[in-house]
C-alpha cells in the first residue's frame, strides 16, 4: 500500500476489490476440493492442477491483500532475492535425490 494511495476514494474502491478477491479465494478453495473428486490419469496431473490453483490463490493474496501490486521497489528487490533462494532450495533438494554419496544408496 503505497502512501500516495491513501485517499478515501482509493480506499473505498480498494474495499470492493478486497471482497472480489475474497470470493475468488472461496471459489479457488471450492475448485481445489472439487478436484479431489475428479479422476486424473496420472498423479503429476493432479499435483500440477492443485499447485496451479494454490499459486493463483496465493498470488491474489499477495498482490491485493498484501498490496504488492504497486509496492515500493525495495520490497520487490527483497522478494526477488527470496524467490531466487527459494527456487535454489527446491532444486538443490531435487538434485540431491539423485546424488547419494558413495555407499549410502538404498539397495533394494
Amino acid at each position: 500500500m503505497s502512501d500516495d494511495h491513501s485517499s478515501p476514494e482509493y480506499i473505498e474502491a480498494a474495499k470492493k476489490k478486497y471482497w472480489k478477491v475474497f470470493w475468488v479465494l472461496m471459489f479457488g478453495t471450492f475448485i481445489t476440493v472439487a478436484m479431489y473428486f475428479v479422476y486424473f490419469e496420472k498423479m503429476w496431473q493432479t499435483v500440477t492442477v492443485a499447485l496451479l490453483i494454490a499459486t493463483a490463490k496465493a498470488t491474489c493474496v499477495a498482490a491485493i491483500f498484501m498490496h504488492l501490486w504497486g509496492e515500493k521497489k525495495l520490497v520487490y528487490q527483497i522478494l526477488y532475492a527470496t524467490v531466487f533462494f527459494f527456487i535454489g532450495l527446491m532444486w538443490l533438494t531435487l538434485w540431491a535425490m539423485n546424488d547419494a554419496p558413495f555407499m549410502t544408496e538404498w539397495v533394494r
Binding site: 502512501d3 492443485a50 494454490a54 527470496t82 533462494f85 533438494t93 531435487l94
Partner: protein
C-alpha cells in the same frame, strides 16, 4: 528520543521502517517454510510405492478451516481500510472478527489433532487375509469397483479405534498415543478394534470415486478382537506413526504457532494498544498494516498446506 520513520518513509528506502522490517522477516519465513516444503517433496517422492498414506485427513474440517482463514484475511485488510477512513469503531468490530477466526482455526485444529491421537493402526506379525476375516474389509466396494483386489486381499495392518480387554474381560477405551510397549506394560493380552478400514490402502481420488458412486458401505466400527501377541507394531496417528504424520504435524504445528502469534499481536494492538490511535493515528494504522502483512502470510502458507497435506 523519538523513534524515526514510524510514519514517514525513509528517503533511501521509500518505506517506513516497520514495513521494511516485516518484509525482511517474511522473507526469512518463506525460507523457513520453504525448507519444510522441500523436505515434504523429498519424503513424498522418495516414499516406497504404496507407503504414503491417503485419505487419513478430514477434508470437510480442512476445507472449513481454509474458509475461516480466508475470511480472517479479508477482515484484516478491511479493518486496515476502516482505519484509513478514520472509522475506529468499524475497525474494532472487523478486527474482532479476525481474532475470533484465529481462535476458531486453532480450536478446529485442536479437535482435529485430538481425533488423530485417538485413531490407531495395528500391524500383524502375519498379514491377515480378507477371505478368512470378512469383517476386516467391507466387501461390497471391493467387488463392485475396479480396485486392484490383490492390493487389499491381504491386510498387513488395520486402522480404527482401540479398546482393551482387562483381566476380568471388561472393555475399556485406550488412552492417547499408546504403543505395543504400553499394552505389555499394562499386561493387556487382548484388544478390541473398532474398524475404519476404508482408509489408507486406497488412493484418495479412488476413495472419492467410490464414495461418489454410492456403492460405499462404510462397514466402520465393526469390531474385531486381536491377541496382543499377534501384533508386530501399534501406533496412534502421532508423529512416530509414519513419515507422513511426522511431516504433517511438523508443518501444521509450526503453522498453528504462527496463527497463535499473529492472533496475540492483532489482539494486543486491538485491545491494549488503542491509546496510540488517539495520540498518533497514522502510526497505529501502520502497526495494523504490519500485523496484517504477517497475517496474510500465514494465510498464504495454509493455501499451500491444505492441498498438499489433505488432498494429494
Amino acid at each position: 528520543m523519538e523513534i524515526p520513520y514510524t510514519t514517514q518513509p525513509r528517503e533511501d528506502t521509500g518505506l517506513y521502517n516497520a514495513k521494511l522490517g516485516i518484509w525482511l522477516f517474511l522473507a526469512s519465513e518463506v525460507m523457513l517454510f520453504g525448507a519444510l516444503f522441500s523436505s515434504y517433496i523429498l519424503l513424498r517422492v522418495g516414499a516406497a510405492e504404496g507407503a504414503w498414506p491417503h485419505g487419513l485427513m478430514n477434508i470437510p474440517i480442512g476445507t472449513f478451516n481454509t474458509v475461516v482463514l480466508i475470511t480472517s484475511s479479508v477482515t484484516v485488510v478491511l479493518s486496515w481500510a476502516a482505519l484509513k477512513l478514520g472509522n475506529f469503531k468499524r475497525y474494532q468490530k472487523i478486527q474482532a472478527v479476525t481474532v475470533i477466526c484465529a481462535l476458531g482455526f486453532l480450536g478446529i485444529k485442536t479437535t482435529e489433532y485430538n481425533e488423530k491421537f485417538h485413531h490407531y493402526e495395528i500391524w500383524f506379525n502375519e498379514p491377515m487375509t480378507v477371505a478368512e476375516h470378512p469383517n476386516l474389509m467391507n466387501q461390497s466396494f471391493v467387488e463392485e469397483t475396479t480396485i486392484n483386489k490383490e492390493l487389499i486381499g491381504t491386510v498387513p495392518s488395520l486402522i480404527g479405534h482401540l479398546n482393551y480387554i482387562d483381566k476380568d474381560g471388561e472393555k475399556h477405551h485406550a488412552g492417547i498415543a499408546w504403543t505395543l510397549a504400553t499394552l505389555k506394560e499394562k499386561e493387556i493380552e487382548e484388544i478390541e478394534f473398532e474398524l475404519d478400514t476404508f482408509h489408507y490402502r486406497i488412493p484418495a481420488r479412488i476413495q472419492a470415486q467410490i464414495k461418489k458412486s454410492g456403492k460405499y458401505d462404510k462397514g466402520e466400527h465393526e469390531t474385531i478382537r486381536v491377541q496382543v501377541s499377534d501384533l508386530r507394531r501399534m501406533s496412534a496417528f502421532v508423529p512416530a506413526h509414519s513419515t507422513f504424520f511426522a511431516i504433517y504435524f511438523t508443518m501444521t504445528a509450526l503453522h498453528a504457532l504462527h496463527v497463535l502469534a499473529g492472533a496475540i499481536v492483532i489482539a494486543y494492538i486491538l485491545w491494549r494498544n488503542n491509546k496510540l490511535w488517539k495520540r498518533d493515528p497514522e502510526r497505529y494504522t501502520n502497526r495494523v498494516e504490519v500485523s496484517g502483512l504477517f497475517w496474510h502470510f500465514v494465510d498464504l502458507v495454509w493455501i499451500f498446506l491444505f492441498p498438499i497435506l489433505y488432498l494429494l
